[in-house]
């Protein structure tokens, strides 16, 4: 069996010139990650710099309305506003141990870009972030944040000028600069070992949440729910629960506009198996194998592929993958904000939306844990025209 497969999915579909740095990274995972000094330093960064551990929060008002107990895992409270920092601190520290002074990263909206830039600044490393030219225009304040943190932001004008093209550009950069640069990949996807590496850094979410649920409620949740784009926050929550047969696990893809055709980011539900960015996984593509542009109101879910472990968990049936549309996510965004005083990221709003829309599937009195992977402050410009269509209160 080849390395890095989850059932039928995964692999290392990259140019031969990228095999040495991938091998080097596999080696570093074996040699460096288990070292106590590495683990101590990572622990300090996660707890004292990024703000772990994050609490689980009970939602009293929505629970009353829904008839079951809704809990949130509060990754939105982390430094830089989302779970992404769990991964970037881990990878940046690993790169430093490997003797690589520079990081390169891709970003769609900004979450991973900002989290990488912050990790680089903290650890005294150089950082280049590739971002689709389209996204640079849409996200000017976030580009500013990355630049303030010392990152060089490079706009990518090739292809569809969005996240997938930023990944292409970052891979090309890595081919050239592999001796001095680590590719700090943003999600649990891409060529082996990234799906495993990112999952391992994000699994802190599920390990904490599992223990916290036991401590606070005396038993495991009946449902755990997370939004799935590339899938790093979801696999981070899910992985420590996979052996708990009584826990139902739900991943939520972005159905986009909900119209037929390809205005979505839901490759598990609406795509087919294919090869992109180093992995064999589920993919939005046309009949000739060309990658189709994705769409979601949430930039963090706007990607035509998904991590191979999710494709595998869908194939085995261990995880059920549902969908939420742009409009359902906006409704959930408003509902959680008004009822519980928590402004969720539009990504996380998809997970909340699935719960709100599946009241009938969830038994009364059940315990439902949603991964609130990020906060919604970054989404104000996107939600404003939907929530205040007349422009009032601007």
């Amino acid at each position: 069996m080849n390395k890095g497969y989850f059932g039928e999915f995964g692999g290392q579909y990259v140019p031969e010139l990228l095999m040495p740095p991938l091998d080097e990274l596999c080696q570093a995972m074996r040699d460096i990650l288990p070292r106590p000094d590495f683990q101590t330093k990572l622990h300090d960064l996660l707890y004292d710099f990024a703000g772990r551990e994050t609490p689980i929060t009970f939602c009293p008002n929505l629970s009353k309305e829904l008839g079951f107990d809704l809990w949130l895992k509060r990754e939105d409270l982390l430094h830089t506003g989302a779970h992404k920092i769990n991964n970037t601190l881990g990878q940046a520290l690993l790169a430093k141990y490997m003797g690589k002074p520079s990081l390169v990263a891709e970003t769609g909206a900004d979450q991973h870009g900002v989290a990488t830039a912050a990790a680089a600044a903290r650890l005294g490393m150089d950082c280049i972030v590739f971002m689709g030219a389209e996204d640079v225009e849409r996200q000017a304040p976030n580009v500013m944040r990355m630049r303030l943190l010392g990152a060089e932001v490079k706009a990518v004008s090739s292809g569809s000028r969005t996240l997938k093209d930023a990944i292409n550009a970052a891979l090309r950069h890595w081919i050239e600069k592999q001796r001095t640069t680590h590719y700090c990949f943003g999600t649990a996807a891409g060529p082996h070992p990234f799906p495993t590496l990112v999952r391992d850094f994000q699994s802190v979410i599920g390990r904490e949440a599992r223990r916290q649920m036991l401590e606070k409620t005396g038993s495991l949740p009946d449902f755990i729910v997370a939004a799935v784009g590339g899938g790093s926050n979801a696999i981070g929550l899910f992985h420590p629960f996979l052996e708990d047969a009584d826990v139902r696990i739900i991943g939520v893809e972005a159905a986009g506009t909900g119209e037929p055709g390809c205005c979505n980011s839901a490759p598990i539900n609406l795509g087919s198996p294919g090869i992109l960015h180093g992995q064999l996984s589920m993919l939005l593509q046309d009949e000739n194998g060309q990658i189709l542009p994705s769409h979601s109101i949430s930039a963090g879910l706007d990607y035509p592929g998904v991590g191979p472990e999710h494709a595998h968990l869908a194939a085995t049936g261990r995880v059920r993958y549902g969908m939420a549309t742009d409009m359902q996510a906006l409704e959930a965004f408003k509902t959680l904000t008004r009822k519980e005083g928590i402004i969720p990221a539009l990504e996380s709003s998809h997970a909340v939306a699935w719960v709100l829309n599946h009241q009938a599937d969830i038994p009364r009195g059940a315990k439902v844990l949603v991964n609130l992977s990020g906060r919604g402050d970054k989404d104000m410009d996107i939600v404003r025209p939907h929530i205040f269509p007349q422009g009032e209160q601007k």
């Binding site: 497969y5 290392q12 579909y13 031969e16 090739s158 000739n288």
Partner: protein, 281 residues
């Protein structure tokens, strides 16, 4: 298929060797600059010195390529280029073309062609996928292709693909570069046929002025590691770039040009004029 049988690719390279000259391998993107002009270019190159022609199968996300090849692919895709159409047109010319024909493209368009041809395929690496890849190989061989280059299919993933291609007499050409160790080259050598694509730079395709200083060591390692002919590519535009290798035992046996040739074509020049300075190099 007799394992020792000489393929068309072997024959073309052997002929150049017998004539004591570099074998010339132009790369052109299928459907570039237009669907019909593309085939005129292939026929022109074939008639005027190309030993092997690498036909690029365009892909939306070509991570091993620089801006020139990517832009050519985008333009071809906008005009509807795809593998089906390419094979149909290639088949019409199958008995007229003298050059060896290599299909060069990323794994996914080949995979989707294969799986569409055999709709019940399950994606079990090494099992169900083999029959689909057999069908792809059979169709490509029937259309007149003689081999494949798939830049995102390194040794670790290539096994089932190579087996399917070789069952139809077509090699899967390996790519190696300055960060490929001697041991890794030897591993490739155990599995490979046809020729070896030596990537001149640690980078993507694209025209460059000089050649990196590490190239001599890369070529020496490849010469020692493989018994197959060495074809040098990435960055080539003029034979002067190879002057320092002349007469050396590690000098490449063949040269591949892509980006420089595409720019030459884009500028309205006749494709085969590009080959002229290389002919007696």
């Amino acid at each position: 298929m007799n394992r020792t049988a000489q393929t068309v690719i072997d024959q073309r390279l052997a002929q150049a060797r017998a004539e004591k000259r570099l074998a010339l391998i132009p790369f052109v993107t299928a459907g570039f600059p237009t669907a019909s002009a593309f085939w005129d270019i292939v026929e022109d190159l074939d008639a005027h010195g190309a030993d092997i022609i690498e036909i690029g199968v365009p892909f939306s996300d070509p991570v091993a390529d620089g801006p020139v090849v990517e832009a050519a692919g985008v333009r071809a895709l906008e005009q509807g280029a795809n593998l089906h159409a390419l094979l149909k047109e290639l088949e019409k010319r199958k008995n007229r073309l003298r050059a060896g024909i290599i299909l060069m493209g990323y794994a996914n368009p080949f995979l989707q062609y294969a799986c569409k041809a055999t709709p019940k395929t399950r994606f079990t690496p090494g099992l169900g996928i083999r029959s689909a890849l057999d069908r792809l190989a059979a169709d490509c061989a029937a259309a007149g292709a003689h081999g494949f280059i798939i830049p995102d299919l390194p040794l670790n993933e290539a096994g089932v693909w190579r087996a399917a291609f070789e069952a139809h007499g077509m090699p899967l050409i390996p790519l190696v570069g300055q960060n490929t160790t001697k041991a890794r080259m030897q591993e490739y050598a155990r599995h490979s046929k046809g020729y070896v694509y030596v990537v001149s730079v640690l980078g993507t395709t694209g025209v460059r002025d000089g050649m990196p200083p590490e190239l001599v060591e890369t070529l020496k390692r490849a010469r020692a590691g493989f018994s197959l002919p060495l074809a040098l590519g990435f960055g080539l535009k003029h034979p002067d770039q190879l002057a320092e290798f002349a007469g050396r035992e590690y000098a490449p046996d063949a040269v591949i040009f892509g980006s420089a040739l595409l720019k030459h074509i884009e500028a309205g020049n006749r494709a085969s004029d590009f080959l002229r300075p290389w002919k007696n190099a």
